[in-house]
Amino acid sequence: MTHGAHFTHVVDRTLNALAEVLGADGAALMLIDDHDRPRAVGGTDADGRRLELAQERSGSGPSIESLARDEDVLINDLYAERPSGFPGVAAQTYGVRAVLSVPLRADDRVIGSLDFYDRVSHEWQPAEVRAGGRLAELMVMVLKALAHKSPFSGQS
């Protein structure tokens, strides 16, 4: 398996597992590239990948806001009018309604965001938001290991 294929394989499997732990219909990942641009990286299914691509193209959406504000963004229904929703993004993603975007932090900076989503609109509960934050930590662990950086260095 090439490094790129290995990365994609591990990220997709991690996203699947994280969505399952939270009880969400899916999860998707956006990372900041070397030029500080948000890039769609992966999703548990086609809806998740479309959600990230739509945000990358349009430069707006819960994930983009989460990155910009370095805080959780809770969207109960993506189809709602702004500022409650993102109808432009919703139009490109079909099956995604409720989205929870959690910033991913590594070494005190935001490196991306993790989106959890459901296919029915609903209010995100505080316990789900807290859990999303902890699961984001695990996503960062995986990403760091894939990048061959800390946590596996600098501790000798």
Binding site: N16, A17, E137, L138, M141, F152, Q155
Partner: protein, 218 residues
């Protein structure tokens, strides 16, 4: 760059702490099979939970060992009274009551177990088990990524050992089951005890058993 095993161990500690706080269990732990073939805690959130390791090693059976040996989820409503492991209770911390374990796999093969416990009897439901399995999958991906990043770390060696030798150990277990009419658990326990008593690795003994079996008249 030499990367210490403590790096990945630290990350796994954090991952197990998260499972503990996320689900509100009394404790959680991560066990791996070592060179001796015995399940050892790599990470445990508390001493009560850690008593699971010693108790199971002593009596040669228990929920975590069953999880590993059967490569499937095992739950116990109350491990203190569970008739499957009658000798376990006297060695366990009294706060360890309901126990659930799921296998942690690498390359599709079990290399350890993720265990959680509650301090009161509890009926684990399908959703509990499914969520725990999903969490084990996250840990598997952390390990998979770490293995690729640093193949020489002590943990990677330990995990690789389990991967390399599980096949020969399983074949020896199968051989002993057929020859002596044993269950898989009995065969594994006997193999492990003999290895410990003779200060040999389980994999070496398993290879010997298979070689002896191959030399017997058919």
């Amino acid at each position: 760059m030499t990367v210490p095993a403590t790096g990945i161990v630290h990350q796994l500690e954090r991952a197990v702490e998260v499972v503990d706080t996320l689900f509100g269990y009394a404790g959680a732990g991560l066990m791996f099979v070592g060179e001796s073939g015995e399940l050892r805690y790599l990470v445990a959130t508390d001493d009560a939970g850690r008593s699971l390791e010693g108790a199971q090693l002593h009596v040669g059976q228990g929920p975590c060992m069953s999880t590993y040996e059967n490569d499937s989820a095992v739950t116990s409503f109350d491990v203190q009274t569970d008739p499957r492991w009658p000798k376990l209770a006297e060695l366990l911390h009294p706060e360890v009551r309901a126990v659930a374990g799921v296998p942690v796999r690498l390359g599709g093969e079990p290399v350890g177990t993720l265990n959680v416990y509650q301090s009161a009897p509890y009926h684990w439901n399908e959703s509990d088990v499914r969520t725990l399995q999903a969490y084990a999958h996250v840990i598997e991906q952390i390990l998979t990524a770490a293995m690729a990043a640093e193949e020489k770390s002590a943990l990677a060696d330990q995990l690789q050992y389990a991967l390399d030798y599980r096949v020969v150990i399983e074949r020896a277990i199968g051989y002993l089951m057929g020859k002596h009419d044993l269950t898989a658990a009995q065969a594994f326990t006997g193999l492990r005890k003999k290895a410990r008593d003779s200060r040999r690795r389980v994999s070496d003994l398993a290879a010997e058993v298979l070689a002896e079996g191959a030399g017997e008249p058919g």
